[in-house]
Subunit: 481 residues, 2 copies
Amino acid sequence: MPVRPRPTLRTMAKAPVLTPRADDFPRWYQDLINKAELADNGPVRGTMVIRPYGYSLWERTQQEVDARIKEAGASNAYFPLLIPQSYLTKEAEHVEGFAPELAVVTHGGGKELEEPVVVRPTSETIVNEYFAKWVQSYRDLPLLINQWANVVRWELRPRVFLRTTEFLWQEGHTAHATYEDARDYAARIHRDVYADFMENVLAMDVLPGRKTVRERFAGAINTLTLEGMMGDGKALQLATSHELGQNFAKAFDTKYLSKDGRQEYVWQTSWGSTTRMIGALVMMHGDDDGLRVPPRLAPIQAVVVAVKGDDAVSAKVREIGDRLKAAGIRVQVDDRTDTPFGRRAVDWELKGVPVRIDLGPRDLENGTAVLVRRIAGGKEPVAIDALSELLPRVLEEDQALLLAQSRERRTGRTVEVTSIEEAVEAAATGWALIPWSVLGPDGEARLAEQGVSVRCLVAADGSVPDTEDQPGNVAVVARAY
Amino acid sequence: MPVRPRPTLRTMAKAPVLTPRADDFPRWYQDLINKAELADNGPVRGTMVIRPYGYSLWERTQQEVDARIKEAGASNAYFPLLIPQSYLTKEAEHVEGFAPELAVVTHGGGKELEEPVVVRPTSETIVNEYFAKWVQSYRDLPLLINQWANVVRWELRPRVFLRTTEFLWQEGHTAHATYEDARDYAARIHRDVYADFMENVLAMDVLPGRKTVRERFAGAINTLTLEGMMGDGKALQLATSHELGQNFAKAFDTKYLSKDGRQEYVWQTSWGSTTRMIGALVMMHGDDDGLRVPPRLAPIQAVVVAVKGDDAVSAKVREIGDRLKAAGIRVQVDDRTDTPFGRRAVDWELKGVPVRIDLGPRDLENGTAVLVRRIAGGKEPVAIDALSELLPRVLEEDQALLLAQSRERRTGRTVEVTSIEEAVEAAATGWALIPWSVLGPDGEARLAEQGVSVRCLVAADGSVPDTEDQPGNVAVVARAY
């Protein structure tokens, strides 16, 4: 007779709230998104409604990313949603890449439009139209612009947060006097904005690399990417930074007068990160009980819960909340004691709030509360007076733990291979590393037939390669969302 | 021979940068928007490109308004841009109001859509579709949601910032258990979010009032408004807060289970403020030299300018900048000494930065700088060491001065009248107050024929009337943007 695992207190105590990850990862993902109240599907296919808790994760993301973008010298601006269709066709590769995904407005103000306009899928074209006006001389360069906006790309196989018909993002657009300056700026954004945010705030292990020609942004001469390994071993592209060369500059005649008096085309970059990062957060850190939000991102780092209805308890949870707030912790008080404690506890677990502080009448007598840790696990009574000092340390421990778990997953599920067959096999459970000299564009095409892609190229020393054919380049191969 | 005014140093020193307001107010406005680099017209008729300086005004607006909205208990969320056309038709007055302004997407992903979708002109319909799912019982109420988003309304007579085909805004949407709770919340937003922000941050004198039935939001049972008097005496509607009654709840079947176990329709509000506020800022505080930004809003409160190229001067302006930043002042350093000082000075005047601190080599020797005040006017040498203490006081003085000037304008240009003819005459230069019992809906229609409208109704004691026909109500009548 097979030995069945002994039921633990946890499994005895409650039925699973979510489909277990091991049973069906995509269903677990959708379950979590709905039950943690992150988002609902929208009425138009592929769109989504971002609910307040999901949006609060995005607001924190915006704050952190925006601060880094400004630190990198860029200023925010806003370009129109509606772009004349003719703009899109000016850069040949660009239109080829985006034409199949466009939403087209044909009627406005009750009349058919003379020229249809597209809802922006990205803004390189309209940005260049204005850069061409604003840039006169080398003194106007570099021109470093970012915008926070929505974009629409008609999706055939939408999945909430990961690939939606409308998504929210920031898109940076810059113009530089030289190739080198543009290249360095694209690399700076890739490193100091995206990689820094993902590692140090999202607690995500991310792999920086260079896209192959096949995977490059439509219209770019180089795309830098950050790839993350999700809980099921698949890859997700988390943010990209593009060198556009002079492609758009030539299409839109974006020129400047150089120091020695010549008209030159500018060199450009563009770079973006999206609400997809919320989906990545779920698939990177979520477990069978719900989301686990890294403390540095968390809109709610600690929730102080009144276990039962009682005026003294309610007053005390509010007092604890105020004290923690004064200690710089983002805190919420939950004294909705007309809802059963168990239901609220499950809900806070689903939402992945790092620390829960439970307080009941008996705790109050003892001057203690129960500290429940969502990330490291465990619960223990602690003196109420010790909380303000204890919590910042606990939160930093949890932050480090999530990053370490994320690193371990990638290390443990990445293998070195030397053939396409081995790469495909490895991609069933994780990532494969294969010399680019062995794989090459032909091998990449063969992989694609089996739904496996080259996520990026990495140099022999682990850095981002300067060129695709740099000797020693390694291709990172995986199935991807 | 007529006496010509003696030329002042100012008028002798430079040709006007902008069309003078007295010559052509609308052209002055457009000039200022362009030359202060606030915005450009977009390629699709009626759209605009908000340039970095203009956008930084909007970012500060967002910070201040968002904080007040959160203080009022609402949470941010995000609803889709694209709305099925059928949703719009569910509330009869609403569709009638918005149908002529819709942008319609008929093609997506290269195919004609089965049902056309509209680009949101406002989100009451799609919000209600989800409120109907989220609201189950009285415990879920009030539901207080806000979103920051772009909307599209096809404009026949667009004007940058004031009336654009696409604009940015926040739109709040709430659901309540009772009529009273919804009414009070609409009033709270009107007072504690909008009026408070406009008076205390934008330094704008604003008149709170109630819209007439004719001017009400399409689908509302009551619209509260804030009206401001622009530099030319015309009115601008600055923000509105609507009681929606149960109109949308009935159209979308948004019900809740009451405490005593009955299914009841919710009572709702919606409320919005837009990038129009940037246009209002210009028309309210601008003068013939450019914009004047109220210090509490100003993204740059003080600019420290190196008059001439000189390493010691450059080092000192940076040092002053750091010191002012440490004193909590939003400061920018301008050491672009390869551009003539005069051109930069004009540019900072155009942009309306409240305080300029000029530093040249001779000032450096004396340990002084020249303090140039954009709002109160005047320039004087001050000890560099005194700046950190002096500036906060100067900035608060300027803030108060702008509000006082705005108040004086309205007081000076508002007259009480008793006939429609007098009201029309008064509206040529300012506002008219006329008893609503004298004017009434018929008089309102006659005014409209002459391009004059009732901006709002105000009660006899100056408060916002509870009903349209409350005895003693006064109609505020003006031409409007």
